[in-house]
Point group: C2
Chain length 335, copies 2
Amino acid sequence: MIRIALDAMGGDYAPRVEVEGAALALRELPADFTIQLVGRTTDIQGALGAVPDVDRARLKVVEAPEVVGMGEKPLAAIRSKPNSSIAVGFGLQKKSLSDAFISAGNTGAVMAAATLMLRLHPGVQRAAIGTLFPTANQPVLVLDAGANVDCDARELVGFAHLGTVYARDVLGRPDPTVGLLNIGEEDEKGNAVVKEAHLLLRATSGIRYLGNVEGRDIPSGECRGQPLDVVVCDGFVGNVVLKFYESAARVFVSLVKREAPDILQRPEMGNVLKVLDYSTYGGAPLLGVQGVAIICHGSSGARAIKNAVRVARQMVVSHLSQDIGAEFAQGGVVA
Amino acid sequence: MIRIALDAMGGDYAPRVEVEGAALALRELPADFTIQLVGRTTDIQGALGAVPDVDRARLKVVEAPEVVGMGEKPLAAIRSKPNSSIAVGFGLQKKSLSDAFISAGNTGAVMAAATLMLRLHPGVQRAAIGTLFPTANQPVLVLDAGANVDCDARELVGFAHLGTVYARDVLGRPDPTVGLLNIGEEDEKGNAVVKEAHLLLRATSGIRYLGNVEGRDIPSGECRGQPLDVVVCDGFVGNVVLKFYESAARVFVSLVKREAPDILQRPEMGNVLKVLDYSTYGGAPLLGVQGVAIICHGSSGARAIKNAVRVARQMVVSHLSQDIGAEFAQGGVVA
């Protein structure tokens, strides 16, 4: 059985939403996993009491008396609260008592704890947050979405490897394409880091590099006629675009609502709204650590948590972490 | 009479679309301007022959025998083709024979020619491309959208001044707010340049600085409950977000079309599509040069050209260039 730990104290509506998400996941996903709810036992038990039909046989509660607040400084919080739900959750994985950890809590604290406690695979310079962007066709994985504000060219090449393995293992794309986010297709476009990364990526084996891609290629999901699977960028640009997208999708919907509210009631619009809704995609994996870590929005609802469990399960089943370790060990990475 | 020069040879459908756009502008906008169509006279006359009802009394053709191709290197093209429509168009303005220049041609060449021929206002370090992003409420001006891939903190402060004057003069916002695009609100967020710019902007007088804003605040058009008028960023991030947005709007429309094509026929959807359509906003001004320069999409249609004429006219009427000169001369800028 796969064991997936879930931070019951993270997120804006904890522990209610986490407990509801766990119950949904146990009900709707393949029954080959258990969930470890990590947090204050009494709070969790209270929330569990309000949720009917929970498969208690596949649910464990793991006590963690401390909570990291959303506004706390990440590193200080992790160091001063060794019994926080985040630290206890990753601790389970470190001791091989768990296979994955999901949190909708303090993103910086989750990243810090993952890096400190699970450590990076040898050869990985920086862990990156991957996020899926909806397109008219298949979603595109964009990384880094905010873990690293300044990146050098080699780190961007590292993200290309991380994204390639993720797209293969978790998205089921056998030979994923990679684009470098830039402001034009031509070789001479971009800032110094991006220009250098472009040259390095062209010289890198084991990556199906399409070349420079532009902002427009993310929502279209293709570039110069080829499907686009992975887009690499620094965490500043990636984070800006991610938050921009989520907000733009809301604005589209609110514009339609204002002009013609009945349209949103149409059943066919459900598919449109589902594509635009980030909660469909199940949280953002932190890639490069030795293990499985998924970061969810603080405002996640039960459905987003359920989908994060789905993705975590897939990451474990596909041996993503091991495959990333092998990718960086076998010298496919530019040194 | 205001004299607006229009590059008849720029854009993917030149000169047809430019001539149609000019005719539309002459018909629909206030009659206080003339248009100078700059390019190959025979080509322009041919296109004019196909457009009925052109107000020929307010239309001049200015011969420019050379054309800068979309793929040419900007600086080399401007230097080797002194009789290109771009060089001739800016030449008119330099000789005080014209008040504005609009081109849907090679963006880099238009920027290079504007900077070389019109020159920057004293105190302006870099010209910036401003673009309007639709929101559920008023559009937000984002700059720089691609003129400068690497910016230092003082250049970002300069963009804040340029955007403030533009929002006041052209958008009619008497006391515009400015946000710095970042990955979080807190002072310590961002890369080194953005952190320094945040401190400089806080210390700058004459700017109504709201602080750091995030990608989500652009489509929502507000930040922490305040309306947002101007967003400052480097040209790399700005260009990525601009192209991303245009493409996302198309994907949204194509999703609706796929699921429920009849919805797009509904008259109320016209308002939604209009808000999402960049051609509503009439090209992107190049701000900081001594004069008026507007850059349009290569794929602009006649309506986009007409709206660019509308914006150019407003830039002239409001004395934008003079006001920018005064803003940078009067010491409101951090030195």
